[in-house]
Subunit: 367 residues, 4 copies
């Protein structure tokens, strides 16, 4: 029962602080024979890396991942895969003044209250930098999924950022990779988002966002009925990402406003099995996949590291106004996109493996 692990058969344990020598992920349960090279993981780390564009913090780390174990001659062996990312650009002096103060909206105060000790340099373990480890592990999961369920495609994108919101009637799957916000819209819209964010940055403020992650081609029948449901595990995976405050499957919170006559996705017999008239369910019924797109959304709060002063206290209880200098994203939602994809990949792989252990192969034939 590791507090720093997630997954059942595909189990990832992340370790490391933002300003220690390195951080990484211990990945256990990757099936043998999966082709894995550092470049296959690096592509996703590069997507998450700070300093890529002007909407992200300017901390320029190469975030180069090393594979220390579990891969032999380019293939996984079935033993633990250790992924390490060295911290090369630490500049810890930026953060030294927070050792005695608690930044509002940060975990500074709760880490102190729980442990009585904290690595205050850059947030330590609570830094968003921890998510680099997740992205590396997600890269392994993606390769394993390819080997086991070749048709699966996983993609994340932003759907809202502060007052900005995508227009679903103009949804463009191919545009996602063409802009800095990973939005499924044309470049003009992306420019609007950029202007909005730059204004925020200039006003020393930050803003929240909503990210949606979709997995297409997941076979029907993976998941579990009551506690380790596919939706339960997805909710936990997304909620475990820094700054996430809400998680939705399919219709999500809006399901509360629907009527039963609208919400139930009608079923039809298609050429290759059951098809559905709609996907309010987000691809999951009773914790088990239907074969439709898995659709998960999560909201990230605005980063609390802002240049505007907020009232707080010091460790000794005296009041202080806190301004967080340093390099911080005005919207962490952008970088949360590849993190959400990584978590989706880990959960889908885990349940593909679990299904084989639980059942062996899909059992119920239809038609």
């Amino acid at each position: 029962m590791s507090m720093n692990s997630f997954g059942h058969l595909f189990r990832v344990t992340t370790w490391g602080e933002s300003h220690g020598p390195a951080l990484g992920a211990t990945v256990d349960g990757c099936p043998p024979g999966v082709p894995i090279e550092p470049e296959m993981l690096q592509i996703w780390l590069d997507k998450r890396r700070p300093g890529q564009n002007k909407n992200m913090t300017q901390r320029n780390e190469p975030d180069a991942v090393k594979i220390l174990s579990g891969v032999f001659e380019g293939q996984s062996t079935g033993t633990p895969i250790q992924l390490m990312i060295e911290n090369t650009d630490q500049r810890s002096r930026d953060y030294g003044d927070i050792s005695e103060t608690f930044r509002p909206g940060h975990a500074d105060i709760t880490y102190w209250q729980k442990y009585g000790i904290r690595d205050y340099r850059g947030g330590g373990r609570s830094s968003a930098r921890e998510t680099a480890s997740r992205v590396a592990a997600g890269g392994v999961a993606r390769e394993a999924i390819k080997a086991i369920a070749p048709g699966v495609e996983i993609k994340g994108y932003m759907v809202a950022m502060g007052e900005m919101e995508i227009d679903r009637s103009q949804f463009d799957w191919d545009a996602i990779d063409q802009n800095d916000f990973w939005i499924p819209q044309g470049s003009e819209i992306a420019q609007d988002w950029e202007n909005y964010l730059q204004d925020l940055r200039k006003s020393h403020d930050s803003v929240g966002a909503i990210v949606e992650v979709v997995a297409r081609g997941v076979p029907a029948g993976i998941g579990a009925p009551v506690y380790n449901k596919l939706d339960t595990d997805l909710a936990a995976a997304m909620m475990s990402i820094n700054a996430v405050k809400g998680v939705e499957i399919g219709e999500g919170m809006s399901a509360a406003r629907l009527r039963g006559t609208d919400n139930a996705d009608e079923i039809f017999m298609g050429a290759n099995g059951p098809e559905y008239g709609s996907n309010h369910a987000g691809g999951i019924l009773g914790g088990i996949s239907t074969g439709q797109d898995l659709v998960v959304r999560f909201a990230v709060k605005p980063t609390s590291s802002i240049l505007s002063p907020r009232r707080s206290i010091r460790k000794d209880g005296t009041p202080i106004e806190v301004i967080t200098k340093g390099r911080h994203d005005p919207c962490v939602g952008i970088r949360a996109v590849p993190v959400g994809e990584a978590m989706m990949a880990c959960v889908v792989l885990d349940h593909l493996l679990l299904h084989r252990g639980q059942v062996g192969a899909n059992r119920g034939h239809i038609g």
Copy 2:
């Protein structure tokens, strides 16, 4: 790694189908010396029980819980507590016609696709009846919390049902137990909700809802930083309840619209420790409790068991129109209130116990 369990040190495994001889919960990890009598659990089961009022299904089961182990002379012994609820009013003939068809919005089809066999009587394991086991286990958790952290109070209430929504400016904590909807509003408002729901029932429809659960008096410092965060475990706990499609902590999905200057809860030094100017965080920072109210919300979809016909298929792939007869709630949100409370109690107790194992006692002094 039981797929039918949740919790770490306080671990609950539920078992049983809606129309089998019995269902229940195996509760492991309750500390010794906690006073437990069947009546202490029954009070919560009675709150959840169908047939209490006309807004619930008219299945009249006493839902009497029996304690088969782990309690000796009225006190927990530290060994597993087996809670059993016998199914006395099964009327399984109501459900016999669904053995070959899949109800839209139900787990019928995914159970079949996964397992190739399902107990179709009343939904079997996927029935909301499973939540009775959770409520019984939650009763044990409540008693253990009393012994360990006496000031904690846990209460759930509905905040929305279809088009109805509570008025937070008129929030009345004491009114919650005075009406059939567990809403924090006066009886006139409750009457409006009732009229709305009766109209829906008459139109052979159902509706979704949002439930909010609050835990007051939870000490600062419980939780964990990265994966088994307090908010992660709460999200998983709530998402695991039947029909839930979204979970929010504190500000929830709305955090996406906030700016950093609004969202960060400012900190002040109070007489008994840190105090906060607001609670956008829902009582959790970095996965660890702040000492503020824990605030969780979840949305339940409208029940799919309705008298209006929906298109679907039979196991052989042929089309069919499905009408679900039988006794079904037009809004499962009402009964989800005590279930959400039970899940909150289980998670809070679990993290209280974990904190002792992780740290021993709160370590970081402030002031």
Copy 3:
């Protein structure tokens, strides 16, 4: 992380005290579609049941197992199987005098020191009666193994009891079920064992024993390399049985006296794959099965419940001489035979399922 559970994908949680209303096992992870009827489990419970012959305690309980969930129309559904055995012959007055004293060699004192409360009636949770739950769960495992790996045969037998020891040169597999001691020897030898045990009983004493359990036909390749090895899990499973003080795989403790030239089992190519010149390894290399017989042995200590007085203390620290009246086996090894078989069945099934989740199917071809 339930303290009362074992297994990974096939996970068994036992519950119940010797003198409570019932005890049983919550069995999670049984694959769907396995034929299960109470009689299939009862046969093993009858083998373990006290009162069968004069070498066992005369507590006459039918030990009838009821299946409360997870089985529908005679087949497992993939959901938790709840097995309940009601306690019908409790006679708790026999044990009342031990509430304030600690029996030497019993868990009375350590339960008290840990929990500050104990169900002293008949040993409560520490009673050998707990193993009835294991035997019932093992019956489920046996049926699931039949479905997944049809050729597997599991059999236990005694190899030593005090000064008595089997003659391996006269090993008779078919004789095991023909005598009250489950020894692989002819009936004359069994008569010698019986005389020996009756003499012990008359002298108000008890004696230890060694049980060996063999699994034949287990496919090569199940297990795991480092921690949850097949041998590790078998060692834990057997050591968890009441009164067990030692566990051996293959050569066991005697491996210490062997030389490398003797110990390494030579490999030859047979008609159906690799064959071995010997089985010092007990069917396991590096935590993974070789396809040879799995061979596990465990030693049980003599029961501490004897009519001869032993010195001890009361809860208040004053000295006392303890004589344990009541119905107790002079050698618990006899009843440990079906318990060891049940644990073997659970571990083998668990690793068969795990292998599918880890790898999918055997991967490495030889020849």
Copy 4:
């Protein structure tokens, strides 16, 4: 459910192959505030390191441990501690010829049968080199135990090696650290052992051994009653060490020959609580510690890597005679001593932490 992890609240995951870039341990659940410096861990690694004396393999690696996370300013923070040991002396050409053959008594064949791929260089993951990671993690456990239960002392020693056996009447606790075999005997006896082992080496053979590990000063009341018993976890911990074939607690396998009148340790009231007339139980009753010395023994088989030819097969099924060249210990028992100590430390710490989570503090007063 990581297959490469052990422990409940103090959870260690080892990773790495003998000839990859590095190996190590991810240590989760170390309490905060424990002083940890690399030198505190290095002392134990040096004890285990090959090449120290002529009874060990002459592979000269410094085995220097690096702490990559979880320690800040010399103290644990409560977050995962990553321990890395780089492989500097790999000489992989020694092992190249085994890629197509299976060494008898090795895991070569089972890894292949399970995974269809193996890192054959030096045994890969099945190499005894994996135990360096355990020893490093055990060093962390030792420091945490000091902070939580200061009086605990853990020591291992050899009690048998082939035909050599210690004389318990001459047991000398202080002599253990004075000789190359960690035997509790004078230097003359150690010289006999050395002569015996050198003769074996010259005859191109190897031999097994028995190691005993004792933990003194462990408080009464830690452990659990049925499955994750203290003795169960110790048995699993020791059986998981490479080459171990048997594990004993207290009287061990010999308990089979004892009578109840001899075996039950009589209890007396001492000045500081209960005392016992003997310790057949090895410090554990019903899975829970008595406060007496915890006594565990395990047998290691003779190393299979010997210069004498043994018959085997190639991957293609053709016969071959295998001689294992390279640097191998004639008795791996010597190096197993610090490994056994490390496992004992991990299990004791884990149950000390668990006890706090289960119960809070010892509950039952005696006297």
